[in-house]
Amino acid sequence: MPSFPDSYARPTILVVEDDQDMAEEILAVLSSEGYAATHAVSGDAGLAAIRAAPPNLLVTDRMLPGLDGLALIECLRAEGIQVPVLVLSALSSVDERIKGLKAGGDDYLTKPFAMGELCARIEALLRRPVENRETMLVIGPLKMDLIERTVHRGAREVELLPREFKLLEYMMRRPGQVVTRSMLFEDVWHYRFPPRTNLVDVHMGRLRHKIDFPEEPPMIQSVPRVGFVLNDLS
């Protein structure tokens, strides 16, 4: 879970959601995660709030009375406000998802969803990995050479299959950040259909087996009901 030192301003999140119960739950979870979350009940109210004080992130429902979620995002983008946006929607089809992302949304989460998934995706948007040009990723004792395609934990070389390498690279670009099963399935495998059974867990289990030897402190940890996190052991 993310932690923010007192000296560090808490990220602000505006939640635009017309369902009061849903909004309350989201706000409660976001507050407990350490975010400064505020709420707007309609697209118009949301737009006014953002114009007054742009938040670090916007979470908006897709279908809203008056100005709907997509129109809200289009307004923001037209005004040059580049706040990252997570769209929540009961419309799950690929077409709807594409519409949401085309309108300027940065991620799209379909209802019903688990709060853990919501938090993980918010965190991912707030801490978007910088696509830098470095050829070496280093997290604690873990070193990944992107040119040589090699991985070392300390002095020990870790032999990985191509998919395991991609999986680890994805985790190493997001250290300390919770990644969910569906994020991995979408971003590492590039599949849009929901992962079945414990598929991602099994792949992650194999990777963990290679990264964390029994005598070594574990770097890859499971976050119950949500996903996985790579710790830098610091």
């Binding site: 799950s92 688990a114 289990g205």
Partner: protein
């Protein structure tokens, strides 16, 4: 009597068209007969007059003049005009004042020469004349009108009139009757359709069994209604199944939470919440699968069809599921030969094959076998997924592609029961078929593809 609605009907228009065509063809036939007969009649007249003139040349002039007088006086001649003129063109005898101006004196029949009648007798443009110069220089002129040709024309017109009018009236009458009949049937169809639109889905269009166009259309509409009723039944059963699949875990959850509230121990409460969350996740997965099937079925079209190599799909699914198979110590392998191409949405096809492999791994016993084979048949490639699990009894094979169906024989394995429905939906969208093959042991499920174009030479 004839309403505009009736006139607009197809049978009435056909009858009208028929009447017009019949009239046209009858006029053409009668016209031809008239023309041919008139032609013959005129030729006979020409010939007669020419012969008469030839004979008259042989007779001495005074006798001829006498004959002309007798003929005209007694009106016994076939010819109407008889006259003899001297070499100066002065009349010697007969009923013509002078030789018709444009008539050549050549012993040949000529028409349309205007005669100057002496006694105001009938003359007009329908007269044939022959003028012949005699050896003594006198000129004999004989002429006749075409009265029987005109009589023939009158007869033909009368016959046309008496024959055609009843024909046209009869055609219009039959057309009206047929149009009424059609209109009545269409009204009945309209009423039935109205009832169906109002919700009486058991209503069917009347079929007379005559096999005519309306009957055929009614049969097709009835078949369409049957299929709509079936689909609605399916939707209803899906609705029932959703209710079952969602209500059951929700009821369990409700009961658990109530128990938690009553008992209240911290650890017990924790366990109850954990179980409830797990149930909720299951219901989420069910909803997601249902929406996905609905999306595929309602899509009715493929978004990104590309030439897809099936071997690559199999390799990708193998890579995805190999760790899962290893956990169950399954003998898991894929078998494919030369590159085989189909036109398909690659992601959807992976989803379909992944579903079949997921099922096979789920149902194969620990240490069992799962095979994914690509068979290149002349009719098209087949993707076959086999396992040595409990298999699908032949009686249940047609049911397993229905939504929510779970085989009675299946061991208690968690699943939404939607996997094969999803694969069926994807296969159908591509024009492929899902086949459940007859095997002695385990199950063998095939996606029978239609062949794609061969790769373009590079």
């Amino acid at each position: 009597m004839i309403s505009p609605k009736l006139v607009r009907t197809v049978p009435f228009r056909w009858a009208l068209g028929f009447a017009v065509a019949l009239t046209g063809s009858t006029i053409a036939i009668f016209g031809y007969i008239y023309w041919q007969t008139a032609q013959l009649e005129t030729q006979a007249k020409d010939h007669y007059l020419e012969v008469e003139a030839e004979i008259a040349v042989q007779i001495p002039a005074p006798l001829l003049a006498e004959q002309i007088k007798i003929r005209l006086a007694n009106a016994i001649s076939y010819s109407l005009y008889n006259a003899l003129f001297d070499s100066q063109g002065q009349r010697i005898a007969g009923n013509l004042a002078e030789i018709p101006a444009t008539l050549p004196i050549d012993g040949v029949a000529h028409r349309n020469c205007i005669p100057a009648s002496m006694d105001g007798g009938p003359h007009g443009d329908k007269i044939i004349f022959v003028a012949q110069r005699r050896p003594d220089g006198t000129v004999f002129v004989i002429g006749r009108d075409l009265d029987n040709v005109i009589a023939l024309r009158d007869t033909v017109l009368k016959a046309l009139e008496r024959g055609m009018i009843p024909t046209i009236v009869l055609a219009l009458l039959v057309g009206t009757l047929m149009a009424r009949n059609t209109l009545d049937r269409i009204k009945t169809l309209g009423r039935t359709i109205g009832r169906i639109m109002d919700g009486d889905l058991n209503g069917r269009l009347p079929v007379k069994g005559t096999g005519d166009d309306l009957d055929n259309l009614s049969v097709q509409v009835n078949e369409m209604l049957d299929s709509i009723v079936n689909l609605m039944g399916e939707i209803k059963s899906v609705g029932d199944n959703i209710a079952h699949d969602l209500r059951t875990p929700l009821t369990v959850m409700h009961a658990r939470l109530e128990r938690g509230l009553a008992e209240g121990g911290r650890d017990a409460l924790h366990e109850i919440i954990r179980q409830s969350l797990s149930d909720l996740e299951r219901t989420f997965a069910t909803i997601t699968s249902l929406l996905r099937i609905a999306e595929i079925e309602n899509g009715r079209r493929l978004r990104c069809v590309t030439r897809t190599e099936l071997g690559e799909i199999l390799e990708e699914v193998y890579e995805l599921y190999e760790p899962l198979a290893a956990v169950k110590t399954l003998d898991f392998a894929i078998i494919h030969g030369t590159p085989t191409y189909v036109e398909a949405d690659r992601d959807m096809l992976i989803e379909a094959v992944a579903n079949l492999v997921d099922n096979a791994i789920k149902f194969a016993p620990t240490g069992g076998m799962v095979r994914v084979e690509l068979i290149d048949e002349p009719t098209g490639p087949i993707i076959r997924v086999k396992d040595n699990g409990p298999g699908i009894p032949s009686a249940e094979r047609s049911n397993v592609t229905r939504r929510f169906y779970r085989s009675n024989k299946s061991p208690p394995v968690h699943g939404s029961g939607l996997g094969l429905s999803l694969v069926t939906a994807i296969a159908t969208l591509h024009g492929f078929r899902l086949c459940i093959a007859e095997v002695d042991q385990g199950s063998s499920i095939e996606i029978v593809c239609t062949p794609g174009k061969a790769p373009a030479p590079s």
